[in-house]
Symmetry: C2
Subunit: 246 residues, 2 copies
Amino acid sequence: MIEAIKNHKSIRKYRPDAISGEVLDSVLKAGTRASTTGNMQVYSMVVTTDPVLKEKLWEAHFRQDMVKTAPVHITFCADFNRFNTWCRQRDAKPGYDNFLSFFTAAIDALLASQNVCLEAESQGLGICYLGTATYNADLISDILELPAGVVPVAAIVMGYPEGEVPLTERLPMDAVVHKEKYKNFSSEDIDRIYKEREESAQTAELLKINGLETLAQIFTDKRYTKNDNEFFSEKYLNFIRKQGFL
Amino acid sequence: MIEAIKNHKSIRKYRPDAISGEVLDSVLKAGTRASTTGNMQVYSMVVTTDPVLKEKLWEAHFRQDMVKTAPVHITFCADFNRFNTWCRQRDAKPGYDNFLSFFTAAIDALLASQNVCLEAESQGLGICYLGTATYNADLISDILELPAGVVPVAAIVMGYPEGEVPLTERLPMDAVVHKEKYKNFSSEDIDRIYKEREESAQTAELLKINGLETLAQIFTDKRYTKNDNEFFSEKYLNFIRKQGFL
């Protein structure tokens, strides 16, 4: 297996060492080799290293330390702005003010992001995706001065890792792989698939700290609650609309 | 640069050779190593090789030959079905019936898909993304019997390439990379960025065939028209809603 894929870990602690321009350029170039719809390349990568801007991004990303400590922050955006500008300059009427176009551009951005992450890891860097990019896309947009047609869909921090972290376990393969058609899960399947994770020492610790009965409740009641999901859904949809996609 | 990233090409012609179970498993396993939000792994990969099912998928993917000729077809889905089933079985109330949860799951699926593609390429296979996965997500769902909570976001074909294809050119790096903040494009920037592509022999040929004046019009008037985009936006949003995410 490609080493960078096999050894991928989310890195949350970084050494202060800068990333050289040469290394950073090659990592970004790897992003541009990913497939994009119709080779339109309707995405952008905003690379932020300035401490003042990173401090603002840190606020938008729920004050996660790594946004300040990692030397590089990259925001991956669904981006029809450049393409639309080109169309208008070439006597062509762009029809990309709709959800499908947003989603198409989001796919471009996300495939590029994964190339960037793997190439970074293959060069000894560490990365961590920030789920908060969609939560506070509007604030991030203000900080990075994104024009209409541009919406953040993912963000990462990048730098040289401080210390070692173990590989994260994954569910058994049949939790995510379906042969030929979708095969739904029996109650026994669910028990088996989640068994190892539910019986881990880490889960016991989490349940004790949170005073909850099941690992699933940690997700539904603490980490990803219905209230938060609904609040941020509305906020993200409003922003996608504001940027001209709905 | 990682060889598979550097040499990536979309492959549209395949040899009939099957992919061994061992190779396929290792490629799918690479998918599972990608980051997912909160390690929830809210995605699925439906791997279809059966010719009868592939014939149906071929219809849904606008009858693109490669869907029939490539030995393997993989549909990557945003998938909260397994997670919701687990929650309900563990006395936890899932709150994932909203747009943010759909988009979170779509990110999981897309990052996994890129890992799968790169690992496949590193093992001598070729792949091609099918943009039609979002256009006809509803038809694909019928064929693959996807339950509520599951929405196709990408699909690929995979197999051993027939013949050679050249690398596809990309726009200059500053078309997609922004330093610190977003830098909008002047009219001169646009001219420079698109110059090589607009002046290519391939473009001259396309304009002649289509009787159009500019390359941009090929996109707006032929390949990705406003009417089509609006039609498929509505259809995709309706399907996302039907699957319980809006």
